[in-house]
């Protein structure tokens, strides 16, 4: 539970993960922002108006998955690093994830890395598709993972064999 150990529950996630129908329609943001904190850069960031703030900056952002095309601008902008993009239409049994990443060294496109879940446990491997460095120093990593893993994976660890 978030308040006790910092991990979202299945119930928390259920409310923000895309519906099966939305999944089929391609890339979409997953906003894992579960607390009312005074913050609104995600709403400023979205070029399509898919993320809006209710009247009060301390409320949680309101997300319209139908307006979202999964561009990922919000992923790099969220101060809490709490927004991810998932694209289940990426391949037959492969999903594309975009995650915010603030560690050095950065992986390189083509690297195979260890995929970690919300508790930091290794759940498989991911292939780095693209490394999108940004001016604000939050890098957006594009990861190809099995579709079954896409809901769980939220971080990576560089695998020993990737970097000498």
């Amino acid at each position: 539970m978030l308040a006790i150990d910092g991990t979202a529950t299945a119930e928390d996630l259920q409310a923000v993960l895309p519906t099966p129908d939305r999944r089929r329609r391609g890339a979409v943001a997953v906003i894992e922002c579960f607390q009312e904190i005074p913050c609104n850069p995600c709403a400023d960031a979205c070029p399509r108006g898919a993320i809006t703030m209710p009247e009060n900056i301390s409320q949680r952002p309101v997300f319209d998955p139908d307006k979202c095309n999964g561009c990922g601008v919000c992923v790099g902008r969220c101060p809490g690093l709490a927004i991810f993009v998932v694209d289940y239409s990426y391949g037959e049994d492969t999903a594309l994830l975009k995650i915010p990443y603030e560690f050095r060294p950065l992986p390189q496109a083509g690297d195979s890395v260890t995929a970690l879940d919300r508790q930091g446990a290794a759940v498989g491997s991911a292939r780095v598709v693209k490394v999108q460095e940004q001016k604000n120093r939050t890098t957006i990593l594009w990861l190809a993972v099995t579709a079954a893993m896409a809901t769980a994976v939220r971080n990576i660890r560089l695998s020993g064999e990737v970097r000498a």
């Binding site: 308040a3 607390q35 009312e36 005074p38 609104n40 009060n56 301390s58 101060p79 508790q119 604000n136």
Partner: protein
């Protein structure tokens, strides 16, 4: 003795913002900072700020510090003294200052105290071993000087500072054994907690330190569980082998100058300890003394910057400095501060503020 419109004491987010906005109103400002550089804690803060665009949301603390310092540099009305410590403020309106090794006196027409806060400590056996740090020292070593404070660290405190500094340690390549927190719930933003959780760092709420181990330096820490009455539960000890222990157990406002100036104070646990009574213009019971930032109550840096703006505008206005957009500017800042404090996480701060808010207008 030098006469000056406004002296701002403290070059952190509140003081920088106060100086900029007072100078924009036309007031002459002397900004005193006791360390060698401006910026306060901002210069060590590598995370992106929350809030809205007006408080630089999405920008990192050290970048915000540079932006504010540039604004200061552009203001001809502001004189900056670093290595300058305010020593006392006396009934005849004289402020004494030590700059480098020289003693100086001023007679400011208004004083804005933005001295910030200091870290609280924690009592446990062997808490004086090398390797035990406050979170501020860890940030200074890592983020200012590029020095790794330890190889494996246990963090105490899951408030925002604890979870943020734990993340910074990971970024610096330090292993974080766990974050322990005596309270039953995480006090920091959950998004910060989740960032370290997905790096595999356990967060143990309802846990405290029983003792530290080591002879010449820290070698380990015994941690145990607390029951709902905050009593240590026997038989729940866990030993963490670590060479670093980082304490992030809260801040106390640095109010010595306010006491000495004779401002009326009140003990408000929600705001970190003793804080001054103030009216809505951030003016204390001493009519020439204003406050802003953590010295007025421990809060986020975004709120400190807005308080600095309000205090700077109000102090300059009280000296008959005027601009066409003063009223609108002041009102907007006031609304900004209210918005920042509108969420459930600010309920404690708001409750605390009620205990030190003076009703009468300036």
């Amino acid at each position: 003795m030098k006469e000056v419109d406004i002296v701002v004491i403290g070059g952190g987010p509140a003081g920088l913002s106060a100086a900029v906005h007072a100078a924009k109103m036309g007031a002459g400002v002397l900004l005193l900072e006791r360390s060698q550089a401006l910026g306060g804690q901002l210069v060590k803060q590598t995370h992106k700020f929350f809030g809205s665009r007006q408080e630089f949301a999405g920008e990192r603390g050290f970048d915000i510090a540079h932006t504010l310092m540039e604004q200061i540099a552009q203001q001809e009305k502001i004189e900056v003294w670093t290595n300058a410590t305010a020593l006392g403020y006396y009934p005849d309106g004289v402020l004494t200052v030590k700059r480098n090794e020289n003693f100086r006196t001023f007679r400011p027409r208004k004083l804005i105290v933005a001295t910030g806060a200091s870290e609280k400590a924690l009592a446990f056996p062997n808490n004086d071993l090398p390797g035990i740090y406050g979170a501020g020292a860890v940030q200074t070593l890592m983020n200012l000087y590029g020095v790794m404070p330890a190889k494996r660290v246990l963090m105490v405190g899951a408030g925002n500072i604890g979870v943020i500094v734990a993340y910074q340690l990971l970024q610096a390549g330090v292993e974080v054994a766990a974050v322990i927190e005596a309270a039953p719930r995480i006090g920091g933003y959950w998004v910060h907690a989740s960032k370290i959780r997905r790096c595999g760092v356990p967060i143990l709420t309802g846990h405290t330190i029983r003792q530290a181990h080591g002879t010449t330096q820290l070698t380990g820490v015994t941690v145990c569980r607390l029951d709902e009455k905050w009593t240590m539960i026997p038989g729940t000890d866990t030993l963490f082998e670590v060479d670093g222990l980082c304490l992030a157990v809260g801040l106390s406002p640095l109010t010595e100058l306010l006491w000495q100036a004779g401002c009326k104070m009140n003990f408000v646990p929600e705001l970190g300890g003793y804080v001054p009574w103030r009216n809505e213009y951030l003016q204390t019971t001493h009519k020439n003394v204003y406050v802003a930032g953590d010295v007025a109550g421990v809060e986020e840096a975004s709120a400190a910057m807005v308080e600095g703006k309000l205090a700077g505008l109000a102090a300059a206005f009280a000296l008959n400095h005027q601009t066409a957009d003063f009223a609108a500017d002041y009102r907007a800042a006031k609304q900004q501060l209210n918005a920042l404090r509108s969420g459930p996480l600010s309920a404690k701060v708001c409750h605390g503020l009620c205990k030190v808010m003076l009703e009468e207008a300036m």
